[in-house]
Symmetry: none
Subunit: 209 residues, 4 copies
């Protein structure tokens, strides 16, 4: 391993350290009430250092979403790549994958929405932006493909797979957001999961011919 590479690896480790701290702090306080200083403290670094790894606060925030997307894609590829599964089984596996994503970072969705706010986007580097778009498209594509198999097999209604993927993702994120927003009254993770389960069930029933 060359010196160059070791340095690069070291740099990546730092970035992750910051991202992990940021995730904790953002989860705790939301975007606006989280300060760069809080995050620096959580990462046991100085505020200035954060800016050596992320152009600004928005870009740091966006990186969280990127991380989720990467995780999501890995999980999805695991499903799409498994040729032994029937179309139906793939959809089931997809639902399981979504649960995993939720467990990986329950705030994923809120992150993703914040990310999309037009003001935020302005602050992102072209590079990060296109990376996010690429992964976003890729994951929706993967989800779409899963549905497509069912459509092609004649067991699902004939809708545009990407539109179905959009709806599927919307439902997933809608349930999480809505149930989370009610958390003041009911901070019950299991209730959220059971709602999520019921929602997926209805969705899948609705897909069937």
């Amino acid at each position: 391993m060359g010196i160059q590479e070791r340095k690069e690896r070291e740099r990546e480790r730092r970035r992750q350290q910051i991202i992990v701290a940021a995730k904790r702090v953002f989860s705790e306080s939301g975007f606006n009430r989280s300060t760069m200083e809080d995050i620096a403290k959580e990462a046991e670094l100085s505020p200035g250092t954060l800016y050596l790894y992320f152009k600004n606060k928005d870009e740091l925030y966006a990186s969280l979403s990127l991380r989720i997307l990467q995780y999501l894609i890995i999980r999805l590829e695991h499903v799409t790549g498994n040729d032994e599964l029937s179309p139906q089984q793939k959809v089931d596996a997809l639902v399981d994958a979504m649960f995993d994503v939720y467990d990986f970072d329950p705030l994923v969705i809120i992150n993703m929405f914040h990310l999309q706010s037009s003001e935020t986007l302005k602050n992102l580097s072209e590079e990060l932006l296109s990376e996010i778009e690429k992964l976003s498209r890729k994951s929706l594509g993967a989800i779409g493909n899963i549905f497509k198999e069912g459509i092609d097999a004649g067991i699902y209604i004939d809708k545009h797979p990407i539109a179905l993927a959009d709806i599927f993702w919307s439902m997933f994120s809608g349930v999480i957001l809505w149930e989370t927003s009610k958390k003041i009254i009911n901070d019950d993770k299991d209730y959220l999961k059971s709602t999520l389960k019921a929602a997926f069930e209805i969705f899948v029933r609705g897909l069937k011919k």
Copy 2:
């Protein structure tokens, strides 16, 4: 019309003037990037005047949601109160109502989520807060009742009506949020509506036994 009443009416007109301006500004820039001064300017008033009608920025923001909820409930009551409709027709009417709500204020959902953030809640008056909760519960109840009729009629699967209402609302808000968040790429209101339509269709199909 007494002098008292005329004043009250005048005051209400002012409140609406501010709410309309706030809606425009918040829609444009989101909560955090909208300043009270922006809103004042939009309403052609001075910043100080806003505070004669709303205790603070959070309360002004929350009032937007209240307005939507009031509209939503009126539309829902119109549906539930119509005895001539079959359970199926009521669900169709419910879907229509949701479209109207969306047309009334496409940002309704984002408002409702911001509203729930615990930091925001702290700044609201007890009165406004309980009003919102009341209306919120009432509208979910009304939606639930519509589903209940279908369940009782034996045409829908047997799930708890309020849970169904939660999912229905989640899907509605999820689609709007997701499609809106993509608006940078595709600011096509019709596409959103068609997605919404497809989502409702799948949901309703999924409900059926």
Copy 3:
């Protein structure tokens, strides 16, 4: 009584009504935290009306002091004008007068100091300012005269009477301020009065040859 005079009297009644309200509000909250609106509300008038009777907030505040000074002078003249009292008895009567002043408005002193702040003075009309100065000089003169009688009678040490009056007044105000400032710990009016009594006692003892 002519119409002119009746009007004048009516006007004066209003002024007093406002002053009384202002006294209550200022006492409650201090100068800075008292708003003109609070005072208007207390006086059951509108904010605008206050400005028909007082040029500005500072001038309203200053009028409180003027009222105290007027009361003080009446009480002092009562003492100096009583030829039946011995010099010693006059000093005793002076002390009694100060207690009365304190009872009339315990915040007198704080008022008087606020009054003197140079920034406040700038906002006062020439007229009000000279009136206050006149009364202030007059009352210190009266106090000085009481001491002078004792000095002339050979029972008090030979200091400039006005200087003694200054010290006497300083002590009076100092005790009130200091004990009031400790009120958070000990809000005991009787304790304040007993301290005031002890202070006067020492002062008078110190005067004696």
Copy 4:
């Protein structure tokens, strides 16, 4: 000197720099009319920097008093600790100490009163507050002890030493406030000092049996 220590020292220097600037500005304009921006400008710092060293405006203000109290106590301990002085000499030394305190910061007294206002107290940290209380009690105790020696020696009238200390302090602060408040007319520091001297003289005479 370690790096830690050097930093600590640097930080303390900054604090003092701010305190000195604040003292100047507050002296000039009083608490309310002094803005944090004025103070920052005087200290040749930015407003934000002030908040790195003081939690808020009230706490900055209170720190001025703390500084005076510290100085006062040092001076008082110098007196009480000097066993070679007779009770009378100690009282004389006490008077000298008060002059020094006055020279150290003529606005000491105004500070101390503002400090006690209940609204101000709310904004102070528990820590600062208890420090001030401690020092305040300590200094009044020390003054009381000086008087106690005279009482025990049988040369002073038999009053509670702390009550005497209260009166002594009240007189001291009363004279300063009163004379300062007249400064618009007569900004003569020597006159103030001579009044202070005369006041102390009378007080001490009044103490004697």
